[in-house]
């Protein structure tokens, strides 16, 4: 089994609590206030209309965006994880995520592993690439991959450091049936010990979630 799965299984239970979290990019754009408490092991889903703030919420949870208001707390085994350490506990995959095209897939993941301070970087990226079925194209440039394969590479990045929490934004976009099965297997494996959060409007992606919140932001309809 993969490096990622072993380390998740050894970690203590993660939980995410949000209290009145909201964010504004500009007038009518962003995330309306939302509160929830999710505790692993489980799968949680975030749904909502286009522009309702699903991706923003995931970025807030990943520590990539500081919310305009409210608090989002990540805890592992009851201990709150400081924002600066959040990247080591969270795996994030999103269609926005792009890789360096002058580096190969393996080099991109190796760079991420080194920056995250992993001890055995080669083992970690080899395991992550194998887990998503990209072992054969490890030396290819990301630009040479199809959009579905690129999505698998994003998943490999999210799994690289064996995070306790997986944040997946539209994880099966551009994927074929085999890719969808792969994502389902990864989520199924991760839910046993960790916490998986899926942001999507595709019911095939979120139907396995035990918990779901639907964002009722203005989206495109409200802005009109």
């Amino acid at each position: 089994m993969s490096v990622a799965l072993r380390s998740v299984a050894g970690a203590e239970r993660p939980s995410i609590t949000a209290q009145g979290v909201w964010h504004r990019y500009g007038p009518g754009r962003g995330l309306e206030p939302v509160s929830f408490a999710w505790c692993g092991p489980s799968v949680a889903a975030v749904t909502g209309a286009n522009g309702s703030g699903k991706s923003t919420l995931l970025k807030v949870l990943a520590g990539l965006v500081a919310p305009s208001g409210g608090t989002a707390t990540l805890s592992i085994g009851g201990s709150v994880v400081p924002n600066r350490a959040r990247r080591r506990c969270v795996g994030y995959a999103s269609p926005d995520l792009m890789f360096y095209d002058e580096l190969s897939c393996a080099e991109n993941l190796a760079f991420a592993g080194e920056a995250l301070g992993l001890r055995d970087v080669r083992r970690a990226f080899t395991a992550a690439l194998d887990q998503v079925g990209l072992g054969r194209v490890a030396e290819d440039r990301p630009g040479a991959l199809s959009s579905g394969m690129l999505q698998r590479l994003r998943l490999a990045l999210a799994l690289l450091h064996g995070p306790a929490v997986l944040l997946l934004d539209e994880p099966t976009s551009h994927m074929d049936d085999e890719g969808r099965d792969l994502v389902a297997r990864v989520v199924e494996r991760h839910r046993r010990a960790g916490l998986v959060v899926i942001a999507s409007n595709d019911e095939r992606e979120w139907r396995i979630a035990e918990q779901r919140i639907e964002l009722r932001g203005r989206g495109l309809g409200g802005a009109a």
């Binding site: 380390s7 970690a11 990019y25 890789f99 360096y100 920056a115 995250l116």
Partner: protein, 224 residues
């Protein structure tokens, strides 16, 4: 899981290695900078010949060549990440301060390589008098740290703005002026046998202020 101890140093090192590898493979900045420096020096040399003891012109010309050869590349350290949409990947694996420090060290190395080619060529083609090496290299080194620090900071600030090209010039001009004045004055003084202590102190204070301000500001720059 990642080790905790020297994770920031690991992230800085990873960013630095990634920058070096990317530059080596694309030659995006170095070729353009060297071409500018060599072409300018050759053209000036053909047009006005050797400047001999015109130390005022020599000092100004040296810093003009270094400034314009370096700026085009230094300013792109963050712009490339934004335009390639790789900033998200970078932020997922390293703290803003680690990213900025890695890029600053890379920019200083870049300046070092540029100066390694440009300065000897300048001394030969312009017929400059033999410098007082200690003072000359001291001013050159401090000026480079100040220039690199300022260019990296401004590049980070304007990287996500619209019209960043024009903005870069507008923001960096007043910031670079005192540093350039001190560097030119110090370089001239060392050729004329005068003391360079005041210029060296000014450049040291400027570099410390710019790098210090950068480390304080970077964590706030990319929160949205």
């Amino acid at each position: 899981m990642p080790s905790n101890g020297s994770s920031s140093a690991a992230a800085v090192w990873a960013v630095l290695r990634k920058e070096c590898r990317s530059e080596w493979r694309t030659r995006y900045g170095l070729n353009a900078a060297l071409l500018f420096a060599v072409t300018t020096l050759t053209a000036v040399s053909f047009a006005i010949g050797r400047l001999g003891n015109r130390t005022d012109l020599l000092a100004a010309l040296l810093w003009i060549v270094l400034l314009f050869a370096a700026l085009a590349s230094l300013s792109h350290a963050f712009v490339r990440e934004v335009e390639g949409r790789t900033l998200l990947l970078l932020r997922l694996v390293a703290s803003p301060a680690a990213i900025a420090t890695g890029k600053l060290v890379f920019n200083l190395l870049f300046l070092g390589v540029l100066e390694l080619v440009t300065v000897p060529l300048f001394l030969v083609l312009m017929g400059a008098p033999p410098p007082r090496w200690g003072a000359f290299l001291g001013i050159l080194g401090l000026g480079s740290i100040a220039l690199g620090g300022c260019a990296t900071l401004v590049g980070a600030v304007i990287s996500q703005a619209r019209g960043r090209g024009a903005l870069y010039a507008a923001v960096s001009f007043p910031l670079l002026l005192p540093m350039l004045a001190a560097a030119v004055s110090g370089t001239r003084a060392q050729w004329e046998g005068g003391p360079v202590g005041s210029e060296a102190r000014l450049l040291t204070a400027y570099a410390a202020a710019v790098v210090g301000a950068s480390l304080l500001l970077y964590d706030r720059l990319w929160e949205d």
